[in-house]
């Protein structure tokens, strides 16, 4: 058997805890299985098309996939014009929210007192639904892009904070003893032990944040915006332009999926070791 391709498949941490399994016993995913979700999606879309035609549903209640596809093509310039601000807001919000979360997590790890003081507040703020937070933030930051960026950042913040605190503190105690025997400084323990240990935790949070940041930007646009996929969703709904509504939803989902795929790709390139392998 050719060793190389199996070794590559063995890399993602999804197969964690298979203690030191030799590369040859790595699970192999046949190509036909990778196609399954696409086949299932095609079947569902086809069923939708047929059912909508058979029951003769009016277009404003449930447009058919073909009508939506036509709208996607004909309204593409307009969709793209609205896509750009949403993409920018979610991207900047993602970077901002996660950066602040990582910085706060680092502070918490270095000061238990700070963590005891601020963590409950972070939990409390997190319990406020985003739909309630959004209008407040729009009042503070105005109707421009800033408020959407802040909402997107807010929605990313908590999962990353919680995961990062766990990641930075879930260091194998024996590794800490090893560092002590080596007389490593606090900074060395942080950079050489805590940061790498936290990366798998960080990436699970970033994958969540990649999709929720898009959600945050869209919710922000609902409250008030001239341009953006969120604004377009509201407008299309109010005007009963259902094919346009569905096309807009499709574009925003596609963007979230691409965002998620990029983060997953980065994770696979960076976290090449197996999680949960303590020794």
């Amino acid at each position: 058997m050719d060793d190389k391709p199996t070794a590559v498949i063995a890399e993602p941490p999804a197969v964690a805890r298979r203690a030191a399994a030799p590369a040859t016993s790595a699970p192999r995913r046949p190509r036909s299985q990778a196609l399954l979700p696409f086949i299932a999606a095609a079947v569902l879309v086809a069923a939708w098309q047929i059912l909508a035609q058979v029951f003769g549903l009016p277009i404003y209640i449930a447009p058919t996939p073909i009508q939506i596809a036509k709208t996607l093509v004909s309204e593409l310039p307009m969709l793209m014009r609205n896509f750009v601000p949403t993409a920018i807001e979610s991207l900047i919000g993602f970077v901002l929210g996660n950066s602040i979360a990582i910085a706060v997590a680092v502070l918490f790890v270095h000061s238990k007192r700070l963590e005891a003081a601020l963590y409950p507040i972070a939990v409390f703020v997190n319990t406020i639904p985003i739909l309630a937070k959004a209008p407040i933030l729009v009042l503070i930051f105005g109707l421009g892009m800033t408020s959407k960026v802040v909402i997107a950042a807010f929605i990313c913040f908590f999962p990353t904070l919680a995961n990062m605190v766990r990641g930075l503190t879930s260091v194998n105690p024996q590794s800490l003893e090893l560092m002590r025997v080596l007389s490593a400084s606090r900074a060395e323990v942080f950079w050489k032990l805590r940061v790498p240990s936290s990366l798998p935790f960080l990436f699970s949070a970033l994958k969540i944040a990649s999709t929720t940041s898009v959600l945050g930007a869209i919710v922000g646009e609902w409250i008030g915006a001239d341009l953006g996929l969120g604004a377009l969703i509201i407008e299309a709904t109010h005007n009963f332009r259902s094919p346009l509504l569905y096309a807009t939803v499709f574009v925003s989902s596609a963007w979230a999926v691409v965002f998620f795929a990029v983060v997953s790709f980065a994770e696979r390139r960076i976290v090449t070791w197996k999680q949960g392998e303590v020794s």
């Binding site: 003893e177 025997v181 400084s185 060395e188 050489k192 303590v278």
Partner: protein, 260 residues
């Protein structure tokens, strides 16, 4: 191996360690004395909870004595630790999973005070060859077997050329055959490097096979039962375990352990 009057590698004088928690205090070690000359090989043997690991931790400056003194290479353990005179091998290899075998061996050269001039006579590559891992330098820990990971840990402990090697049941989790091989290799490394070795084990044959002397500890509280000499000439082939002298020492240790 050392002239009279040479500084002892390890000198425990009436060392007592007590751990205090809310539920009361536990005496892990009581009035333990032990003198190990430079280049010596002493095994610590005893039932669970007899303080074998605590004794090792005393020397490594991971635990401080409640009473008594601990002298390592003529000074306090902290000095030995900061001078990087100590190498520690845990029961788990404790490799950093994101680092290759070679990068794990290099770790001691990258951290701690005066790390620049920490490199010893042997490079990390040479040490991996010494422990029989040539060709696996770039493998990640999860791609190595348990025995291979433990070899990496030994190479890592040797990279800063420690004068004392502290080993806490390093082969406890390995199968018999791997253990035999690593025991032989450890003796070879010991004779080549001349380091002092303190070796914690649960295994009587392992203790007799490796060491010059075996310190038997009794439990509750942890204290010295007897210091037994293993007068078998080095180099010791694995077949030494079938000699009458080996069996005599082993059965003496077994009898001692039954009264611990």
């Amino acid at each position: 191996m050392s002239g009279p009057g040479a500084t002892l590698a390890v000198d425990l004088d009436n060392a007592t360690v007590r751990f205090t928690s809310e539920r009361g205090s536990v005496t892990a070690l009581e009035n333990v004395g032990l003198k190990v000359p430079p280049g010596g090989f002493v095994s610590l043997l005893g039932p669970s909870g007899c303080g074998k690991s605590t004794l090792l931790r005393l020397v490594a400056d991971l635990v401080a004595p409640t009473q008594g003194t601990v002298t390592v290479l003529g000074g306090p353990p902290e000095r030995a630790r900061l001078n990087r005179d100590l190498g520690f091998v845990f029961q788990d290899a404790t490799l950093l999973p994101w680092r290759s075998a070679l990068e794990n061996v290099r770790l001691p050269l990258e951290v701690g005070p005066k790390k620049r001039d920490r490199g010893g006579q042997r490079t990390p590559e040479e040490l991996l060859r010494l422990v029989g891992l040539a060709g696996r330098e770039h493998a990640l820990p999860h791609e190595l077997s348990g025995g291979m990971r433990q070899r990496v840990a030994i190479a890592r402990a040797l990279v800063s050329e420690p004068r004392i090697l502290l080993m806490d049941e390093p082969f406890g989790a390995l199968d018999e055959i791997t253990r035999d091989t690593l025991n032989e290799e450890l003796l070879k490394i010991w004779r080549e490097t001349g380091t002092t070795i303190l070796f914690v084990t649960h295994s009587i044959p392992e203790a007799v096979f490796l060491s010059e002397r075996v310190l038997v500890l009794a439990t509750n509280p942890g204290r010295v039962r007897e210091l037994v000499a293993c007068e078998l000439p080095y180099p010791r082939p694995l077949s030494v375990r079938e000699t009458p002298e080996f069996i005599r020492i082993a059965s003496h240790l077994r009898a001692l352990l039954q009264t611990c």
